[in-house]
Amino acid sequence: MDGVAVGSLYALIALGYTMVYGILQFINFAHGDVFVLGAWVSFAAAGAVGLSVGDQTAVPAWLVWLLGAVSAGALAAALYEFVLRPRLGAGRPPATRLTWPLAGVSVVGWGTLLLLVATRGVVAGGSHTIAGGMILVLAMSTCGLVGFCLERLAYKPLRSAPRLNVLITAIGVSLLLQNLGQLEWMFGTRPDRMPTLVPDTVLFRIGHVPVRLVDVMVVATALVLMVLLDWLVFRTKMGRAMRAVSFSPTNAALMGVDVDKVISFTFVLGSVLAAAAGFLYGQKYPGLNQTAAAGWVLLGLKAFVAAVIGGIGNIRGAMLGGLLIGLLEFFAVQYVPEGASLRDIFVFGALILVLLVRPSGVLGKAVTEKV
């Protein structure tokens, strides 16, 4: 059951890797760190709403100031765009590309803070399960914001650069997130314990395998999110735009798709899913390591392996790959002698095997290269 639970978490993270790869053809190494950020943000949020077992953390003042500055910027840009520019006459450059992102960031940011306050009320009312759901949403919106900013600030200037440069930038962003998280005024360098929101009860047994409430919660949440994503990608207009851009950005742009918007949206979507995975991981394994710990990086890498095994760029493949990797890992731990120390070998061995036999992954389509 651990395998299924962790596998569905891998699947959630793998989705972010695979969506970004599908559209931009680059491995977003910082994605694993967004996942870690999700776990730590939900820890901080739990502390801020009064759920933490340890020290209480309040919302840091600098965050509010930063948000205020962004909102002020948005306001200024909007003033220029809608009040000043029409008066000054044509010829002045429009500021829409500045206004909307800033406005979006400030609206979501203030919304998150409001939600935080609301959650505090819910916790005071004593309903921990609802509070858990709200913390999940909090972590998701925060990481969505972070993902949006990362894409705009770090990756967008490199849109036409060689892919290796983008890859190095991703590594740089990953280092940045890890080490920012370690600063004293962020999460510090000590491991912490996530407050668990559901009681540790065994619901029922399949054979002799106990099925815990946490596992059910993790799998159910992950499933709901994945079904939502599947609907979003295959049934909505935005999803169609995403698929069009991943097929060919140039042609999609010619057909009137706003490629930049779609890419931003993809990053936000991936980060949101990673944040959810982070929260759920914290519920499953409450001991949270510091943000730069090697274990986190390894988790992110395994999720990436899942994406590759399922066929990178393929959304349903990532879900399948995640489950496969999770099951493989825990079967290895269970049934292979010394499996616990060799579990990573199975994961990476499977990766190499799949790549050598079927480089496009289990569900991927082979791409023939034209000369």
């Binding site: 892919r163 440069n165 590594i171 740089g172 990086v297 061995g349 190499i352």
Partner: protein
């Protein structure tokens, strides 16, 4: 007029062949060409070890040693990532293979040959060549040295064999898939080493009674290989660094190397011209793995290092890749310089350099002016702002070392790099970056911010900015001696850009 018959053509003197023969020289010349690099390498090693290291303060020789090891690593990775344009992300794994092979051979080999595994005792210890400790009385060359150099070579060969085994199947894959496979391979090497037993054998009798294949299991596992002698000295490191550099330069200009470069430029075209791409890629991979293995052996025996596979995981691979990309893809001197900078930078961020150095600022100011004049369309407003700022600072306090001057210098440096970063020649860009750093450092110090807390954050930020502002690295594909030329703003776009090959921005080869 009749066309020459094929036989006539064959007999006709071919000017190209003649030139090639003249260049190749006689047997004597060839021998000189073969021996000279070794002599130079030995000379550099001896000079550093005996003449320069004793003059330096305590901490510096160690940093120079680390630079040497990193230069070997970066230059060897350049042969794969830079020359052939393949993207290998498991370079640290070859380093680990070399390190563990060398360590096992040295540790257990010494125990068998010299009858002791206690390297603190004088009997087992190597001569003066192989120690970082100053003023130790010992023989010039001992059995320990012999074991060490054999172990280093064995480590290199073991890594090369691994490189062949990994490369043969995986180099048929292209682009990102190769990167992923090498990443996976690196992890597998690490896990295999870490899943061995945690013990190291100490008792000489037990070691002598245990056959070699069994000894290979006692490498410390997750705890790390303890009790290794610290043989690695400036002499070994820098001799081997020079050898690596010479091999890399000669490789680059050889027929062999041209085939590598052709794969980087366009794999399909290279194949069409008769270059067996997979074969050549595997060759590059094997050569690179060999040198990485040697660097690993050197690393394992560095003083103060506990050999641990966890240290040689993907983060180490990333470090090496970053050096290669910062230096410029395919630029050997660029990779070497980037390796040097990236080794010194974290240390420099840890210990503040002295900031009150007017002469240093003067040199930098010269670099500044050169940069401003060399960019094809000089940003006049930038020059004006810098000049005004400097004049104001001078007027306020007539010294080059005032805080205001630092702010001006740093600020204008940031502006230059932001607005003209892509076009400033590599060395000058470097100089400006260094000044910016010193300016920010001193400014932060005066503001009471402890910069050392932020060192990794700053490092990450610098990396991201560098990638955005100067995607081609310090030197592009050029070398140090041609890097002063102004880089074109828009490098020729290759057809394969954004496609299969993962090379950095292409600028016409110098």
């Amino acid at each position: 007029m009749t066309l020459p018959t094929p036989t006539a053509r064959r007999e006709a003197p071919n000017p190209l062949m003649e030139r090639a023969a003249a260049l190749r020289g006689s047997g004597g010349m060839a021998a000189v060409r073969g021996v000279a690099p070794v002599l130079v390498a030995l000379a550099v090693g001896l000079l550093l070890h005996f003449a320069i290291a004793p003059q330096l303060p305590e901490f510096y020789p160690r940093v120079i040693l680390d630079i040497g090891i990193n230069v070997i690593l970066a230059v060897s990775l350049t042969m794969v990532n830079g020359f052939t344009g393949q993207f290998s992300m498991g370079h640290a794994a070859f380093m680990a293979v070399g390190a563990y092979t060398a360590a096992t051979l040295v540790y257990y080999g010494s125990a068998r040959l010299m009858g002791t595994a206690d390297f603190a005792s004088a009997r087992a210890h190597a001569g003066v060549l192989s120690t970082m400790l100053q003023g130790r009385e010992a023989a010039f060359f001992t059995l320990g040295d012999g074991i060490f150099i054999v172990a280093l070579l064995a480590g290199g060969i073991a890594a090369a064999v691994c490189g062949y085994l990994v490369g043969l199947p995986s180099l048929r894959l292209r682009g990102d898939y190769l990167a992923i496979v090498t990443l996976g391979f690196g992890e597998i090497v690490r896990v295999i080493i870490q899943s061995q037993t945690t013990d190291t054998l100490y008792d000489v009798e037990v070691i002598k009674a245990t056959p070699w294949p069994k000894l290979m299991r006692y490498m410390g596992g997750p705890v790390g290989f303890t009790g290794l002698p610290s043989y690695t000295s400036l002499f070994w490191v820098w001799s081997l660094t020079v050898v690596t550099l010479v091999v890399a330069f000669r490789l680059k200009v050889s027929t062999f190397g041209r085939a590598f470069l052709s794969i980087r430029e366009d794999e399909i075209a290279a194949e069409a011209m008769g270059v067996r791409t997979t074969t050549y890629k595997v060759r590059a991979f094997v050569i690179a793995a060999f040198f990485a293995g040697i660097a690993g052996g050197l690393y394992a025996h560095t003083i103060g290092i506990q050999l641990n596979a966890g240290e040689l995981a993907f983060m180490k691979s990333f470090d090496i890749i970053i050096m290669v990309v910062l230096g410029g893809m395919g630029s050997i001197s660029g990779a070497a310089i980037a390796a040097g900078i990236l080794t010194v930078l974290p240390e420099a961020l840890r210990r503040p350099p002295p900031v009150d150095l007017p002469w240093f600022l003067l040199v930098m100011a010269a670099a500044w002016v050169a940069a401003l004049l060399l960019i094809r369309r000089p940003k006049w407003w930038l020059i004006a702002v810098t000049a005004l700022g400097a004049a104001y600072a001078w007027w306020q306090q007539p010294t080059l070392a005032s805080p205001l001057m630092f702010w001006t210098v740093a600020g204008s440096g940031v502006l230059i790099l932001l607005f003209a970063g892509r076009r400033v020649p590599g060395l000058i860009g470097l100089a400006i970056a260094v000044t910016c750093y010193i300016g920010v450092r001193s400014a932060a110090e005066r503001a009471g911010i402890k910069l050392s807390d932020y060192r990794m954050v700053l490092y990450a930020l610098a990396l991201i900015l560098m990638m955005i502002l100067r995607p081609q690295g310090f030197f592009g594909v050029r070398e140090l001696w041609t890097a002063w030329r102004v880089q074109p703003l828009h490098p020729r776009r290759s057809r394969a850009e954004g496609g299969e090959s993962g090379t950095a921005g292409r600028v016409p080869t110098a």
